[in-house]
């Protein structure tokens, strides 16, 4: 093996080590995990996964998470598309300031908004619903979505719009049948980032839910405290939590490179 392969290999090994450890743990019993150091599961068990897929408090955690994350992704992209189009195509008073202001929404830590959201949603009866979490996450994801989409739309020449109008396309028809397909890579990248941010965000999701819309990450932390240390179960839950992200990354991997090239991701 050549020397130059060594450093990336070591790097990747270090990156994958915690993931490997998590996956290995999920196939071990809790006793084995606590008893000492072992590289492979000594007594291979699927019991942890079985618990998750049969116990509603566990699998509903996943369903809840996927529900509000999907909801948030759809809302973010749909709301951001017209906004990004306006920013990329029109000059209006204060457009640059508005664009920057949108981004500043991402600069405040989520904890700042937890209390006002909790109070507001409790007052209007949104507390512990999927839409509550989805809307709260829009606070971070819509600015991000506008930012990314604007980059992709800016790469489409204005002449394309003009050509379509000359051909007779009305604006809605142009936007849906010509413009959207043209920037579909951008829409994919945007959806991916909205999905990821919403998927990993824990603080707001935990604060705004109690029972019916509780996310998987909240279920995991609760289990750790009440039912003793069920480490194997937690590891299995953790492994399952990684999977949706990995799947989404697989689908948009080619577009992500494009996004990086545009300097917006």
């Amino acid at each position: 093996m050549q020397k130059r392969h060594l450093i990336p290999l070591v790097y990747i090994l270090f990156l994958l080590l915690p993931i490997y450890w998590l996956v290995a743990m999920s196939f071990k019993t809790t006793n084995e995990i606590l008893s000492g150091f072992s590289l492979f599961p000594q007594t291979f068990t699927l019991a942890n996964y079985r618990t998750i897929f049969t116990d509603p408090t566990w699998y509903w955690g996943y369903i809840n998470s996927i529900l509000y994350v999907s909801l948030n992704t759809v809302i973010s992209v749909v709301v951001a598309l017209p906004a990004a189009y306006a920013f990329s195509r029109y000059r209006f008073l204060g457009d640059k300031h508005l664009f920057f202001w949108l981004l500043t929404n991402r600069m405040a830590p989520a904890a700042v908004f937890a209390l006002p959201f909790f109070q507001l949603y409790s007052a209007v009866g949104l507390f512990d619903t999927h839409i509550a979490v989805a809307l709260a996450h829009c606070l971070f994801n819509i600015p991000l979505a506008v930012w990314i989409l604007e980059g992709f739309m800016g790469g489409v020449p204005k002449e394309l719009d003009e050509t379509a109008y000359v051909d007779g396309y009305s604006f809605p028809r142009f936007f849906t049948t010509i413009f959207l397909p043209t920037i579909k890579a951008g829409v994919g990248v945007t959806a991916f980032f909205c999905f990821m941010f919403s998927w990993v965000e824990l603080l707001l999701a935990k604060t705004l839910t109690a029972v019916y819309a509780k996310p998987i990450a909240a279920t995991m932390t609760k289990t750790a405290s009440s039912a003793g240390y069920e480490l194997g179960l937690l590891a299995a839950a953790g492994t399952l939590t990684i999977i949706p992200g990995a799947i989404v990354i697989w689908f948009v991997r080619n577009y992500i490179a494009k996004g990086f090239a545009l300097g917006r991701v």
Partner: protein, 354 residues
């Protein structure tokens, strides 16, 4: 079908992009908009296409006021300088798109697209995506989309500028045939005087957002109405210098003078600007070029069969463009000869005097 512009202007903020333009464009021959980059050709096209609103004035198509009519309702075609096609559609769907939007029957669309594709040699590429085509083929796709529908007006905004030399010539030869026999008004913007001359028809010379002259292309070339028109319609740039007319002679500085003939001889004595195309300033006494002038050679260019030399005169820097190869030495004085019968004389206000 005619397009009439009446005192049409365009402003962006406080900046005037198009000063009042009044023009009547007719079908049958090319209407060329000739001007340098930034002269307002594209702005004027966008006004006529309805892509930008006019600040004032009236635009009429076929006598009907369309000033406030949307682009979609004007029934026009437009080809941009950059190759603009719908990237996610096949070439067939690209060409068919204006017909589909108009709600034409599938069978008729197919016939028309195939005909347009045949005219532009795109038949083998119909199933491909625009990005898989060469630049010339992409622009031919855009042209096919422009001719496939029966539009009232076709705007070609420097459609050949981004093509290489060979393709440009090929397409330019083909262009007049594509639009022959249609009732559409064809408007062709270009920054190259040669292109305007080759396309013929009528030319509107544009400078600083204004149409400085409009008329038959060859006529304008032979007799530019103003100094601005002469400057726009010359490549390399036309030579100009201030002169003084005294009696029957014109004097440029103290060293150069010549006998005036024709209408120029009847001018009142006074100050004028002389303009002469570079191909009438030669390094040898030949073909009517007999007014000697000596200048210091600044730059020389050799392009195979033609030599050009920039040299300094009291009135500014001049260019000589001559057939054949001539040995110039940069920095040395050289004698050139001007054909005085080819000179234009402009009054101080820029209008053609003789």
């Amino acid at each position: 079908m005619t397009i009439e512009l009446e005192n049409v202007t365009k402003r962006v903020g406080a900046v005037t992009h198009i000063k009042p333009v009044t023009l009547t464009l007719k079908p049958g021959q090319f209407n060329v908009l000739l001007g340098e980059t930034g002269a307002g050709k594209t702005s004027l096209i966008k006004l006529m296409a309805g892509l930008d609103p006019a600040a004032s004035g009236t635009i009429r198509m076929n006598g009907k006021d369309v000033t406030h009519l949307s682009t979609q309702k004007r029934n026009i075609s437009l080809v941009h300088q950059f190759f603009v096609n719908y990237p996610h559609m096949s070439v067939f769907d690209n060409i068919a798109s204006p017909l589909k939007v108009a709600g034409m029957a599938r069978s008729e669309i197919e016939g028309r697209v195939e005909q347009a594709a045949k005219l532009l040699q795109l038949t083998p590429m119909l199933k491909r995506r625009p990005q898989e085509l060469s630049g010339g083929q992409q622009q031919r796709t855009a042209l096919a989309r422009a001719i496939v529908k029966e539009s009232q007006a076709v705007f070609l905004d420097e459609p050949l500028a981004n093509l290489d030399y060979k393709l440009r010539e090929e397409l330019r030869d083909q262009l007049p045939d594509l639009f022959a026999g249609r009732g559409a008004v064809v408007i062709y913007a270009t920054s190259e005087p040669e292109e305007a001359l080759m396309l013929g028809g009528r030319t509107a010379l544009m400078q600083d957002g204004q149409v400085v002259q409009f008329g038959p292309t060859a006529g304008i070339y032979r007799r530019p109405g103003s100094l601005a028109a002469a400057q726009v319609f010359s490549n390399p740039p036309i030579n100009t210098a201030p002169i003084t007319k005294r009696g029957s002679r014109a004097h440029m500085g103290s060293a150069i003078s010549w006998e005036l003939t024709g209408a120029a001889a009847d001018l009142r004595d006074g100050d004028y600007t002389v303009a002469v195309r570079p191909n009438y300033v030669l390094p040898v006494r030949d073909r009517g070029a007999d007014v000697p002038m000596t200048g210091t050679v600044l730059v020389t260019e050799l392009s195979g069969s033609e030599s050009s030399a920039h040299f300094s005169l009291p009135g500014g820097s001049w260019v000589s463009l001559s057939p054949g190869v001539h040995p110039y030495e940069v920095g040395r004085d050289h004698q050139f000869f001007m054909d005085a019968s080819r000179c234009f004389y402009f009054a101080p206000d820029g209008a053609l005097a003789a």
